[in-house]
């Protein structure tokens, strides 16, 4: 088999383009998520979208809509329970998202007539259908557009909420915008890597870039570069191993992170006496 073989198939070039787009959205957003310290929130929401997807399937509305709604429900329920009890946020999150995920699994096994839904769990970018493709692209483009337009406000919100409020920004609104964007990012990457592994897409690019630079703008660029490379590499490799595309992408992300970590360690030992 020739190493250029994958590019002869239109489903492969399509998958490469979509994964590059998804990789970009995830990378840009991951910079905020990592700096805000919301990794667990990313994990929580990504699992919590499952019941939303199943219900959307049953009702017959687009799956991303259900996923988005469930993601926001998880975030607001977490916030509400935390505010009205003494339980810490990470604990509340642990309860809410596992509860929602379990509910989703129960629904899922009850209605499993279509292999479609399993794609949500593990991703299926190589066999993605036209409708799903369009929905993914829309979710990705809208989310990316909003993040980029609001990138400075969001950065200030992550860095110094008090100052953001003092100069008249609506920080409550920014909080919910960030949560909505998180849900949007998850919805966009659901088809590519599946909701179980999507947290890797949300965290790894930002962390990789963080090790390589201490400037925010450069962090955005490096995260995007590493994420797009990992996404395309994952799709490409999965052609040869016959599937598990999502896992291949996440593995490539992890390898890039490991490389960045080694570089970081070497540089640190060179500079410290």
């Amino acid at each position: 088999m020739n190493w250029l073989d994958p590019l002869r198939y239109s489903f492969m070039t399509e998958a490469l383009m979509v994964s590059a787009l998804v990789g970009t959205v995830c990378a840009v957003f991951s910079c905020y998520l990592v700096l805000k310290g919301w990794s667990l929130m990313g994990d929580a929401i990504s699992h919590a979208v499952l019941p939303g997807v199943v219900v959307a399937y049953l009702v017959g509305i687009p799956l991303p809509v259900g996923a988005f709604a469930a993601g926001l429900l998880c975030a607001t329920a977490t916030g509400w329970i935390k505010a009205s009890t003494r339980i810490k946020e990470d604990t509340v999150m642990g309860i809410v998202f596992t509860g929602m995920f379990a509910f989703g699994l129960v629904l899922f096994t009850k209605v499993e007539t279509d292999a479609h839904l399993s794609h949500i769990l593990f991703g299926n970018i190589l066999g993605i259908e036209r409708d799903d493709l369009i929905q993914t692209v829309i979710a990705a483009v809208v989310t990316l557009g909003i993040v980029l337009a609001m990138r400075k406000d969001l950065m200030l919100f992550c860095f110094d909420t008090a100052h953001a409020r003092a100069i008249g920004l609506n920080t409550t609104m920014l909080h919910y915008v960030l949560l909505a964007l998180l849900s949007g990012t998850i919805v966009a990457s659901m088809q590519a890597v599946g909701i179980i592994l999507v947290v890797a897409m949300l965290v790894t690019p930002g962390c990789t870039a963080r090790l390589l630079t201490d400037r925010f703008d450069r962090m955005l660029i490096l995260a995007t570069a590493s994420s797009v490379i990992a996404s395309c590499l994952g799709v490409y490799v999965s052609f040869f191993v016959n599937g598990a595309t999502g896992a291949c992408i996440v593995l490539a992300q992890a390898l890039l992170f490991a490389a960045a970590f080694l570089w970081h360690q070497r540089r640190r030992s060179r500079f410290s006496v």
Partner: protein, 298 residues
Amino acid sequence: MPSLSIDVANVTVAYPNGHTALRDASFHLHQGVIAALVGINGSGKSTLFKSLMGFVKPVAGTISIAGNTVEQARKLKLVAYVPQSEEVDWTFPVSVWDVVMMGRYGHMNFLRIASAEDKRIVNESLARVGMTDFRDRQIGELSGGQKKRVFLARALAQNGQIILLDEPFTGVDVTTEEAIIALLRSLRDEGRIILVSTHNLGSVPEFCDHVVLVNRTVLAAGPLEEVFTEDNLNRAFGGVLRQFHFEQSTIQDHDGKTVKLVTDDERPLVFGKGGHLEYKDRQGREDLVEKRQKEAGE
């Protein structure tokens, strides 16, 4: 705009969990003043700051900033806040320049694109605090005093007329402390109101004109000499203050004048005989020295 002032009248702040952090607090500050907000931890200093910035809403009473409500003042970006060092994530990937530019965000359009004017103001603010050479440094690479100056520059870039500083001298060496004080004085002389929250009593007489003493309410507020008395401080601090009474100490009065005082990081607060405040140096306080001499002569 009416002349700059802060009027806090009968303000009570209670948190959703039922805790009343501040009860019936009132004080007034006029323009061109450096005021110290003094009290122990949990006395309501930060609650007062939060109310001035509109982060918490009083359940009773009113706050007026230059004749505006807190909400209007926030829209006018009148109030700038210099956070305590512990509140800042110093590993955050931003440079000195980026941080000072954040002071301009409120003045920019939705996309926060810096204009030439914004850049000029940022440059000017950096120059004013003497941090121009450090503009491209990541904020974590700075010393304690430099970090403070960057956030002061941000307050200047914001053009905040009321500047709130939270514990500005922790982790700052004495030379930098004096540089910051000089800067605060020049800001005061421009007519701004500087409100400094601190528990470092000794430094208060050195640079503050006004004092607001808090302990779950405002115990006393007004000019330093009137408010900063041993009595008031005892009321504000209760048993927390460590005291050293020379007349009761084992120091021998060899020549009638020996006073020695050595402390570690924080400045000591010294009351002379008769309970009046003692200052570190005579410069600029010639009239006071004269007054004391007269008292001694009588």
